[in-house]
Assembly symmetry: C2
Homo-oligomer: 408 residues x 2
């Protein structure tokens, strides 16, 4: 049996120190070109400029009739101006009116469009206009949305529906985006170890499926998730295999006899942070191996997920060109009950909606594990200098969904 | 040339009336079983109960030594209790101490776990305990997270990382989720129609890529996106083809001569709503054809996207078992400048961050089209009874990203 480790571990890094290290070490991956239809949720790698004016010609802004504005001078309900209906063509004759759909190019000579419901139809086919129109009214002049050379989408912008539609309308079929971070998960043999007796067959690996969901949410892709024997040499070898942009090690971080993740990272490369002042996840660590960042996550599924959210996720989001900050909307709410937190450690504290505008803590992770996170509507991130919040205090709540939880 | 339609269209439905119709007509699709690894972002179709206790046995909550609590009675720094180190096995002898990793089952007889850093090691291999421990401390009793038969994940819950981890740890490899809504987009011939002259080759279809992004965000899947000739018979036939859970028609909704979407829907099934009091998207319509809901969206890309967000997206989210409400977090902010809105129409008004805590309108959609949406940080949904907001007014802003836009 190995000796238990000494209790005099080096001082833990604060969450702020870890974030600063990540921000200094990790930046966007290089760009790749992808088809526009696959670019949703990706991040623009460079400014994209308009190659031509948008719209590319003067066009109708409404369904209506194209006219020469000067032809309508003096029109009134008592003395309507009568224009001759003509088929839409390349040129509008003087005194003519041509029906156009919104978006259709103006014929030469036409400089205004009158909406259909403002146009009367006289016997004999004339269009009756009862009000003079100003030149350019009812039209979209060439280039009014974007002029040639101007920026359509700036580097770093997350590509959502509007950005994709805009790029499509500007003729782009592909776009340069930041490459998706490739993530390797190394699971430090937790299943193997606990499979000694029949009842233990009921211990299932939970961190893998959970990590897959958060990695994909953050724009990454898990290229490999392997269980590795818990010894130092096996872990070290797994850390040195190429092919990933970041490696997450799950388990083997504690003070136990066979907790070798930190030692393996020190051998494979550099163990920079050994222990973080984050409750439940204080055994987490960070460093580099084989030229890529490595995050050591605790093996307990709830702790693993917390450490991912606060530490590893930041690195993955930054690799993918996103903002590193926690990817949850925040809302200021009040505490329906007090919440106590250990000073000297930051703490993620799951909460659920109580009465309107207030939240209450759910039973702690130490008691109900992942049920605390799965049953929560969001969480508080209590800073390490805080002892918690009294009842009625205003707190900033990170919400899992801004809309998807039943709010009282 | 066809006659322009009469201006005396029937009264437009309010956004609230449309939402009520959608809620009455559209509910969750049936369930399907999917592997847990593919279930991220899906919605649980039924309550999932624990088939066994979690954890399935009494286990160590920390890396430490398993003891019989009664063996530690009377321990103090001056008179430590000395226990005999033994290898972990199925039973802990009286007076013994067995080292365990967090998560490992307690040997029979052991009822407490003492964290390693609280344990001294005496010459001769004894474990020195300097403080008595209470029974159950440092342990997780069988079933403390979830007892057999209790709900792990409730029907309707969006499956995120914590839910997936919980289901995995409870032994589930598959889960019943609401089927993804299959969406057909029928593009009413806008490209064909405007491709008459060389310069018009520069008119690209923008709504397709934009709709794909929002449909996927809302949990749906576009199974077909086809351009269809703009005549009534072609549109009617497209509406009657089976294979989709909902059909979105893009374009052909206006008062123009060849705007046949509403008439085609009336022929194919039922046109229930013909016109919506939503600015830029007032030509939208809704109904049913071939047993599925149909939403008629205006053809202009910005208007199409607005109408999707406020009208069609609600139906798709509900089909997929999600909350129908707009899928954006909201935050109360103040107007840095006034915004004016036409009374009698609801209006989506894109805004961007101004100074801290405030927003200002971007140039309107009528002037810059999709650039208004692509350049915005969020939007206001101004109700139909409002004329807008004065400078300094508190408004509820729907944010595209709670975190991803540079906030001043």
């Amino acid at each position: 049996m190995a000796e238990p480790r000494s209790s005099s571990s080096p001082a833990r890094a604060s969450v702020g120190e870890v974030c600063a290290w990540i921000d200094a070490q990790v930046s966007s991956l290089r760009a790749e070109d992808v088809p526009l239809v696959e670019a949703g949720g990706r991040v623009a790698a460079a400014d994209v400029a308009a190659g031509f004016d948008l719209p590319p010609f003067d066009r109708a802004a409404v369904d209506g009739i194209a006219v020469r504005a000067e032809d309508t001078v003096g029109a009134s309900p008592y003395s309507p101006c009568l224009l001759r209906w003509v088929a839409a063509s390349d040129e509008l004759p003087v005194g003519g009116a041509a029906q156009l759909n919104a978006g259709a190019p103006l014929p030469r000579g036409a400089d205004a469009v009158i909406a259909l419901h403002l146009v009367g139809r006289e016997a004999g086919g004339a269009a009756a206009i009862t009000e003079p129109v100003a030149a350019a009214s009812g039209t979209e002049p060439r280039g009014c949305q974007v002029a040639t050379g101007n920026t359509l989408v700036a580097a770093g912008r997350l590509l959502r529906a509007a950005e994709l539609g805009l790029l499509a309308s500007a003729g782009w079929e592909r776009v340069a985006v930041v490459r998706r971070p490739l993530v390797r998960c190394v699971i430090a043999g937790a299943i193997l170890e606990t499979a000694r007796s029949p009842s233990r067959a009921q211990v299932y690996e939970a961190s893998g499926p959970a990590l897959r969901a958060v990695v994909e949410r953050d724009g990454g892709r898990i290229v490999e998730a392997t269980a590795v024997a818990r010894d130092r040499a096996s872990l070290r070898d797994a850390l040195l295999r190429p092919g990933a942009d970041i490696i997450l090690v799950v388990g083997g971080t504690g003070p136990g006899a066979d907790d070798e993740a930190a030692a393996a990272l020190a051998e494979a490369g550099e163990l920079v942070i050994d222990g973080v002042a984050l409750r439940h996840a204080d055994s987490a660590g960070l460093g580099r191996a084989g030229g890529v960042p490595v995050v050591l996550l605790p093996g307990s599924p709830a702790a693993c997920l917390l450490a991912y959210e606060v530490l590893a996720g930041r690195a993955i989001r930054r690799l993918g060109g996103r903002n590193g900050a926690l990817p949850f909307p925040t809302r200021t709410m009040t505490m329906a009950r007090k919440v106590v937190s250990e000073i000297s450690m930051a703490e993620v504290r799951p909460v659920r909606y109580a009465t309107a505008g207030s939240v209450e803590p759910v039973p702690p992770i130490t008691e109900i594990g992942l049920m605390a996170l799965a049953g929560a509507d969001g969480f508080l991130l209590i800073p390490e200098g805080s002892e918690g919040y009294r009842q009625g205090a205003a707190v900033s709540v990170y919400l899992y969904e801004g809309y998807d939880c039943a709010q009282p």
